[in-house]
């Protein structure tokens, strides 16, 4: 290849050789003929740097591929440009299929600001505070994402006392006068979803609709129950405490509560579950009682776990966009560490209905349903069917 002699050989003094050492502030300053203090202030947007200089510094920095070392900055500023999340590894209902999506979102949200994400795990409630404490003390993060918020959440008190920024994935303080106080949060409105689930069932013609809640320790359980009650009221249906069950954390516990509802003298023909996992527990029970899901009894879940798609019949449920949640949380948390008021950083998203095959018009009245169940149980109790 022949190079055109008229064109000057391009000087790649600004070239960015990836294998070479990184360029540091001094070098950038030398290159610009400025002092490193000026360059630093220009990069950080100080007002005592002229607009011209700032532009020039910024463009050269970009061309030379300058990236400040966050831990070098941190030593003076005290900020490490990182957010952290501590997940507890001791939960009965772990194996969260959305963790990857959520983390992907959070990482992306952080990356957009050139921040990073560090994670840690705690084995117990008590360990949780220790882990948070260590992270705070060693200044491993400038703020925290707190997933799975509880009604009365020790992490919130702890971090508030330490005056460390944090944001909730979910809300807290259910039933208190000012539940949100001065915390920031992002949440998906489970109550809206559950309310619409009840409307949907009542639209199908169901008159007795049950609800199976989750662990009352978590704030969302109460909100979803509220949604259920709102749905009943909107449909003009009476509240029957018999139809409200709680504490279904796992699939097995979901089965227990479903059984309790279906064994009622006047059982519900539709059941709304606070979680998919619990809803899937009911599948076993329905099989056991010879009930056809979607016909004899309608089941709705919430979460949109992948498995809900593959069970038979596929489960009607609500899907939440975990990735977006992570992304929003990261961004809002970073903005908070930059000085924005926590109470201005709140967002409520909506879950979206996945219409599938586990619900439909009731073909049995509650009475008929009860009869079918006892009949089937007796039939099965007596002989060994083969």
């Amino acid at each position: 290849m022949i190079t055109n002699p008229r064109l000057p050989k391009r000087q790649y003094s600004l070239r960015r050789d990836p294998s070479s050492r990184r360029v540091k502030l001094d070098e950038l300053a030398d290159h610009l003929g400025l002092s490193k203090s000026t360059v630093s202030r220009a990069l950080n947007g100080y007002s005592d740097i002229s607009e011209t200089t700032r532009k020039r510094v910024e463009s050269t920095a970009r061309k030379m591929g300058y990236r400040p070392l966050s831990h070098a900055q941190a030593i003076r500023t005290g900020k490490v440009r990182a957010i952290a999340m501590v997940i507890n590894s001791g939960e009965p209902d772990r194996h969260n299929p959305f963790l990857q999506d959520f983390l992907a979102g959070a990482c992306e949200g952080a990356s957009a600001f050139d921040w990073t994400m560090t994670i840690s795990t705690a084995k117990s409630e008590k360990d949780m505070l220790n882990v948070l404490g260590r992270l705070v003390e060693e200044r491993k993060a400038d703020g925290f994402i707190l997933p799975r918020t509880e009604v009365d959440d020790a992490r919130i008190k702890y971090l508030s006392a330490l005056n460390v920024p944090f944001i909730l994935y979910g809300r807290t303080g259910y039933g208190q006068a000012d539940p949100y106080d001065d915390t920031s949060w992002f949440d998906i409105s489970g109550e809206t979803a559950i309310r619409s689930a009840v409307s949907r069932l009542s639209g199908f013609g169901h008159r007795r609709i049950g609800f199976v809640g989750s662990d009352p320790k978590f704030n969302y359980s109460h909100l979803r129950r509220d949604g259920y009650l709102q749905g009943l009221s909107a449909a003009g249906l009476p509240i029957d405490l018999e139809l409200i069950r709680e504490d279904a954390r796992t699939r097995d516990e979901g089965a227990v509560q479903a059984r309790a509802l279906l064994e009622l003298e006047n059982p519900p023909t539709g059941i709304v579950f606070a979680t998919d996992l619990a809803a899937l527990g009911s599948y076993t029970v329905c099989a056991e009682f010879g009930l056809q899901i979607g016909k004899d009894v309608s089941i709705l879940g919430y979460d949109g776990i992948p498995e809900s798609q593959y069970v038979s019949p596929s489960l009607t449920t609500f899907s939440v966009d975990s990735q977006r949640a992570g992304e929003r949380l990261a961004e809002m948390l970073i903005r908070q560490t930059r000085g924005e008021a926590p109470e201005s950083l709140r967002e409520l998203g909506e879950a979206v209905l996945l219409e599938r095959n586990s619900d439909g018009p009731p073909r049995l009245t509650p009475k008929e349903l009860a009869r079918k169940i006892t009949h089937f149980k007796n039939g099965n109790l007596g002989g060994d069917r083969s």
Copy 2:
């Protein structure tokens, strides 16, 4: 309460008030009546500090709750005491239920050395190298865990060239002369598990055993296929290429491959899948062909995903201890960054068989099985059964 006047009022000059400011090196040094350089060297185990002094420094540091700021150390040492992992968010078979366990293990392994774990995500193969590059350049981590290793893995080349420590979760370079070269890794021996799966089926009396592999881009796919071949050979069964399928990344792809095997003129009575997800895909196909899993056809999976326990019949599979994997990887990686030779840091664990209900003695010969399938297909093809 009356204090005993003979006892001197205890001076809590060493007390550790959690809400107070953290103690820094200077303060610790002042307290000890030593220079901060001496204290620093004592804490870091330099040999020019007397044993007595070292003990004294260590114990006082502990009592005062001194913890060095890792980013302050990093500025001089270049080491941030952190390991990183980049997960790719664009995979078709994401929703890894074990991510949480794995991360828990890795975090724990890191914590044991007082290290932390940072994570990031990449949207594509290309993005992956960028993300790694950024992390390296900004020195966000001293080493990397590389999950889901590929036969020909760009990350390995990239990090090797940059001379950055890393460890593989899995092996690499299948089929090459020296596949492991000088990398360190931890892996679960899928080949051993799959070999024993074949032995198990042959022990049941199966003579025609199929295999459905996974994405050949990943190293483990080849190893598991090897395990299948070893199993055949150990059982004295011939290799029939017809019985070997690949490329089942998802449940649906698993279904496709299962269908291909079962529609053979001489179909296998037992099928070993490289992954549970693919194995679950076969459930649909068996239902479609009117086949009873565990009787008409035996299915084995690998991974031990939670869902495998709840399908009907429950899937016989191999469970891998993801948490332990994470923990081992973290520890070995840290040791590598401290100077241990990569080739001395390798470990192979075993998966453990979960005997469930999807396999057993064949009640049909391959011929009979084929007949049953065609018969059922024709029956279904003709009329609309209701």
